[in-house]
Amino acid sequence: MAHPAQLGFQDATSPLMEELLHFHDHALMIVLLISVMVLYIITCLITTKMTDKHILDSQEIEIVWTVLPAITLILIALPSLRILYLMDEINDPHLTIKAMGHQWYWSYEYTDYEDLAFDSYMLPTQDLSPGQFRLLEADHRMVVPVESPIRVLISAEDVLHSWVVPTLGIKMDAVPGRLNQTAFITARPGVYYGQCSEICGANHSFMPIVVEAVPLNHFEAWTTLMLEEA
């Protein structure tokens, strides 16, 4: 989850998010270089004593400031397109989970092997234990096995929602009547938080998503427990 006053991205937990982070660093560095250069040119222009009222032209500098920006744009576009296509690849997931958005909670269905389905409501602030995160904790977490490719099928039962986990680099709209697919793989065990990202009514800010990645034997124990509870 984000820490207070955080400006940058959360640490990446999936390899895709790592790629996105590195691309963001790359693009931001280019943008900062251009901005600093422009600022420098502006200060030179303002403080110079060399002024000429005749119009100057130079073919050489025109070639330079056509070719260099074109090359810069190509250097940004190529990694960007690579990540774009990488994000759409789904490589043989081990598990498929359906995440359905409702007003105002998420429900998860694990129907690959057994019929496991449960709702995930936000924990009200007055019911939090010390150390839990306000507006982020849910009563039932979406538990997944760590280091396994997971496919998530996202849809909604009423209005638009959006299933988001920033540290996994996932944002996918939950559209009623439509099935959207995304996939992720967690590199580490842990608990990862996200919040609904499409305005859906009064409690849009109060339907968080919590993904918990655990080793496979713990995941199997959890599914057994959840099936018994239901």
Binding site: Q59, E62, I63, V67, A70, R82, Y85, N91
Partner: protein, 85 residues
């Protein structure tokens, strides 16, 4: 048409800095048009012939690559795991 080309040719001779501009803009426009053409003709979401090929999106093989680039994906290894209908 030919006089327009002659005008442009004269301008290019006097201002050779315009040549890289033509190259990049022309290249970009060409790539966009080619990609749009590819999408129109080869995207399985598009159906041109309603009689002979009404729903091409139902005829996708698991090993078929319909996207332009495959970065990390070995399509030949994919299996079909859904039922026919």
């Amino acid at each position: 048409m030919p006089s327009m080309l002659q005008t442009v040719g004269k301008q290019l001779r006097n201002h050779p800095a315009l040549i890289p501009l033509f190259i990049f803009i022309g290249g970009g426009a060409t790539m966009s048009v080619l990609y749009l053409g590819r999408l129109a003709l080869k995207n399985p979401d598009v159906s041109w012939d309603r009689k002979n090929n009404p729903e091409p999106w139902n005829k996708l093989e698991p090993t078929q690559q319909y996207k332009l680039f495959a970065i990390n994906m070995d399509y030949s290894k994919l299996k079909k795991d859904r039922p026919d209908f």
